[in-house]
């Protein structure tokens, strides 16, 4: 009996028992399907061993793709090019709106155009290490291998990457790497890559191979005879509940940062599609692995609706500091050098202001917790360009960061050329997601998860410029092979929408909408979401403790109970109703938030973005526990009762775990 279940029926006081090797015993439910042999040959081997669908037979298969961001659009386009019959769904008015569009910095690829020692192996190595040894080596190596094809494909599509004077592609550096391997299109790399994938998909729409369904939100996955065979969606304009059948379903539905209410994600980003799939049998892996980005514009008031990221590149020239004394309210220009604490330079002399994201974020929180934060709220630190302007001149700084300074000025009405910027960490990306095997298939056969929606490639911390790479790798170069293998191997029976499974799922979706509108309580959806975000940020944010996590589990459960009793949802279900859509998403966050806290509670170590205050070195750094926690934690839905935990042990054959040090 290897399927370990954690402390049933004691929700708030979950205790983890572990005793030596028993800890990491693999769950029989989790077959990673990783091929054998040297890591560098596994993908080629797998591709050769996979079954193929004859070109003439591909059009007989229907594939549903939910989401049209980088992963979804690239998968839809590529599968349609191959001849599959694709149905693409998005809740936006247009597929071009997905949040991939907001990625600024760039996309990594092991091209070694810079001739500076990069290679597929080095990108693989950096990513496994950057993920703090909690990612699956085989997946990461494949990611590094196909990274080079992604750049070629995007250039051919007309993505206007930055060029050098000779006309060749330009590169820059990003955190966690010592080579220049990041390709970029000004500060709008995500936008240009998404438009490339979107245009490729719209070409297939023109040809009739992709049928586009906009303003549709997925509310359920329909499982027939143990396999994913369709989805239930709500037409957001008419309110109609629709049933769609397919031979396989791809979820490319992004991450769940908005469980924190305030994050850098777009307002509509949500966990609903992934969560509904989870409730139908897809295991959720490492939900507590979230990335908190250190350089965001701080919160300015209660009305604040979202946070805005300022590029990591600013830390190349900006110096981070706070006053030495708590409660020092002088203007920054009035605080002399000897009264300033450049805390990153002090604590990490080797890397200084360029320590990785997780380390920089925690250090900023620590000084604010000591009462040394600046600004009206005391929840921000200075990012000061004074020295850089003196050394290099204002023109040089303007040339390097002009657009970012402009954006900062626009939002805050402060001039960062004259006084230091104020920044604070914000939730930015989620490494956890639906558990998938090497084929990107979830624990429901026929249901695949791509991009940020899956858990597989970034471990406990994602490196900058790797999210775009992973979304496109999954969509352009992985799923076209693995999906074919699934369709060629499985015998799928003929189904109709008259089947009980479809009818029941559609009925349940409708009843839930009706229920939300019928409560007519006194508290708005916005208030519930904000309250949930507060609980999550305080207890499941940058610093986590056993006590805080237990409290969060109880508080989230209580808030959920209140939601279903006292939420006030305005409008009706027969017309466009963004407020109702929000209510439905918040209802799922209220279930998901508890699982996140539970996962963080059970993982009694600190790694990457997961920092448990009980587990740190004497110097305050993250203390990993590879003996007990070098595994993927995959949670199974248990009808609202304490969820069973399944483990996939992680073997590091190539990159041997070591303590990350930036001192």
């Amino acid at each position: 009996m290897n399927n370990e279940t954690i402390a049933p029926a004691k929700p708030a006081e979950t205790e983890v028992e572990h005793g030596g090797l028993g800890d990491k015993v693999a769950s029989p439910f989790l077959d990673s399907k990783v091929p054998s042999g040297p890591v560098s040959e596994r993908w080629n081997k797998a591709k050769f061993e996979m079954k193929l669908v004859n070109p003439a037979n591909k059009r007989k298969f229907t594939v549903i793709c939910v989401g049209t961001g980088l992963a979804g659009a690239s998968a839809s386009a590529t599968l349609a090019e191959l001849g599959y019959n694709v149905h693409a769904f998005t809740y936006h008015d247009s597929p071009r709106r997905a949040h991939s569009i907001a990625a600024q910095g760039g996309i990594n690829a092991a091209k070694n155009y810079a001739n500076d020692g990069d290679s597929v192996y080095r990108l693989f190595y950096d990513t496994v290490k950057g993920g703090d040894y909690r990612a699956r080596e085989s997946n990461v190596h494949r990611l590094a291998e196909v990274s080079v094809n992604i750049i070629d494909q995007c250039v051919a599509q007309g993505v206007p990457f930055a060029r050098e004077y000779g006309g060749y592609l330009d590169n820059r550096s990003f955190g966690g790497a010592q080579v220049s391997r990041t390709f970029y299109a000004r500060g709008q790399t995500g936008q240009q890559l998404l438009l490339g994938a979107y245009q490729a998909m719209m070409r297939q729409v023109q040809r009739g191979s992709v049928k586009l369904h906009t303003r549709r939100e997925m509310l359920d996955v329909v499982v027939v005879e143990g396999k994913a065979r369709g989805i239930i969606v709500r037409n957001l304009v008419t309110g109609e509940i629709e049933t769609h059948m397919a031979d396989a379903v791809l979820l490319c539905t992004g991450g769940y940062s908005n469980v924190f209410f305030l994050s850098t994600n777009a307002k509509h980003c949500n966990v609903t599609a992934a969560w509904r799939a989870h409730k139908k049998g897809a295991f959720f892996a490492n939900p507590c692995f979230t990335q908190i980005h250190p350089t965001c514009i701080p919160v300015s008031g209660d009305y604040q609706s979202k946070l805005t990221l300022m590029s990591e590149s600013l830390r190349n020239d900006g110096r981070v500091w706070v006053p030495k004394a708590a409660g020092d309210k002088r203007k920054p220009s009035d605080i002399p050098e000897e009264d300033r604490d450049y805390f990153l330079e002090r604590r990490y002399p080797a890397f200084g202001n360029l320590v990785p994201r997780d380390v920089a974020s925690r250090a900023a929180k620590a000084v604010c917790d000591e009462g040394r934060g600046v600004g009206d709220s005391g929840l921000s630190v200075y990012l000061d360009f004074g020295d850089a302007i003196q050394r290099l001149g204002e023109d040089t700084i303007r040339a390097r960061y002009g657009n970012l300074f402009h954006m900062y000025g626009h939002i805050t009405a402060e001039d960062p050329y004259k006084s230091p910027m104020r920044i604070y960490p914000a939730v930015h990306y989620t490494m956890g997601g639906l558990w998938v095997d090497y084929h990107l298939q979830t624990t429901i056969p026929g249901l695949f998860a791509l991009g940020e929606a899956n858990f597989s490639d970034h471990g406990a911390n994602r490196l900058g410029a790797s999210a775009l790479m992973q979304g496109l790798a999954d969509g352009y170069f992985v799923i076209p092979y693995t999906l074919g293998n699934y369709l060629a191997s499985e015998k799928l029976s003929k189904i109709t929408p008259e089947r009980e499974e479809f009818k029941v799922a559609a009925k349940e979706a409708q009843e839930r909408i009706t229920k939300l509108l019928s409560i007519k309580g006194t508290k708005t959806v916005h208030e519930f979401h904000r309250e949930l975000g507060h609980i999550m940020w305080e207890n499941v944010g940058m610093g986590r403790t056993r006590e805080g996590l237990q409290k969060a589990i109880t508080q989230v459960a209580a808030l959920r109970e209140e939601f279903w009793r006292n939420v006030k949802v305005a409008g009706d279900a027969d017309n466009l109703n963004p407020h109702l859509e929000h209510a439905s998403r918040v209802a799922d966050f209220l279930e998901f938030g508890e699982l996140m806290a539970r996962d963080a509670l059970h993982r009694e170590e600190s790694c990457g973005g997961h920092f448990r205050e009980e587990y740190q070195t004497p110097e305050g750094e993250a203390q990993r526990d590879d003996d007990h926690f070098a595994y993927v934690a995959a949670w199974e839905w248990n009808n609202g009762d304490t969820p069973p935990l399944h483990k996939e042990p992680l073997d590091f054959e190539e990159v041997h775990p070591s303590q990350r040090s930036y001192k």
Binding site: S74, T78, E81, D93, S94, P95, R96, R97, H99, I101, A102, D152, Q153, V155, A156, Q157, G158, P160, F161, R163, Y165, G166, G167, Y168, A185, R186, Q188, Q191, Q192, Y198, Q199, A200, M202, R203, Q206, T214, A266, K267, H268, S300, G301, Y303, Q304, S305, T308, L309, I411, T412, A413, Y476, F477, P480, T524, H526, K568, A570, G571, L576, P578, H579
Partner: protein, 260 residues
């Protein structure tokens, strides 16, 4: 179009005149709302969030408006504010417009994009799917996944790449159409034609692309361009009318050369 700046931090009270329309079938009307205690640091959409909370609390139905990233890149948001698409700040989407651009006591008129090709769905939300159909008519380079040569196989002059990027920066918000007295989609369509025309990869399909995208633009019911320049003035990404000239040249060239 000059940006006014309210330097103080004092909260403001504003009167809003908002277009309310239940759905595409029903008639709409302007409705008056009070926005009280508005902080100058709020974004315009955050101000609407607060007004909506009040409406919900008093039993009404919140004002529907489109938004998502709230950092000016997704192209979802778009409102006519006092007759100007995206409001008074230049080069700014409405989600990045802040209330410090308004004064205490101001009346603010908020309407949806107005164009035959952008029918109203509800309140301030319109259907912009015509833009997607223009792109699918030819706004792409026909390359299947896997066909691409090495990324450095085709050198592209830095300037060409920069110029292409200027055009490619379009976010598809529709402000150009909304501000144009002809409701022309020339700026949107031409930005994509220019982006792909300025790169060598776009050359093989150059003629056909121009013909097909222009034909689709007309079919959707957008008006013609009469060089008013309103589109350029309100474009949040400051995309220039030079794109329209380029589109016209491309279109004529395709017609004259008799290429399909």
């Amino acid at each position: 179009m000059a940006t006014q700046t309210n330097g103080s931090k004092k909260p403001m009270n504003l009167k809003l005149l908002v277009w309310r329309q239940k759905n595409g079938m029903s008639k709409g009307a302007m409705t008056t709302y009070e926005a009280k205690n508005v902080s100058p640091d709020m974004s315009f959409l955050e101000m609407l969030d607060v007004v909506n909370e009040d409406i919900i609390k008093s039993g009404g139905e919140p004002i529907a408006f489109e938004h998502d990233c709230r950092e000016g890149i997704c192209g979802s948001c778009g409102l006519m504010i006092n007759g100007v698409a995206h409001g008074p700040d230049e080069g700014t989407t409405v989600c990045q417009l802040h209330m410090r651009s308004f004064k205490d006591g101001d009346t603010v008129v908020i309407e949806p994009w107005r164009a035959r090709a952008f029918p109203v769905i509800k309140d301030l939300v319109v259907d912009r799917s015509a833009f997607d159909r223009i792109i699918s008519a030819g706004g792409y380079i026909s390359v299947n996944t896997g066909q691409a040569p090495d990324g450095n196989a085709i050198p592209i002059a830095k300037q060409s790449s920069e110029d292409a990027m200027d055009s490619a920066a379009c976010i598809g918000c529709g402000a150009c159409v909304a501000q144009c007295k002809n409701a022309s989609a020339a700026l949107f369509t031409s930005a994509k034609i220019a982006h792909l025309r300025l790169l060598p990869q776009g050359d093989p399909e150059r003629a056909e692309r121009a013909l097909r995208m222009v034909a689709q633009m007309d079919e959707e019911g957008f008006g013609s361009c009469s060089n008013e320049g309103e589109c350029e003035a309100v474009c949040p990404k400051e995309i220039g009318m030079v794109n329209i000239s380029l589109m016209n040249r491309e279109y004529e060239r395709a017609l004259i050369s008799g290429k399909k």
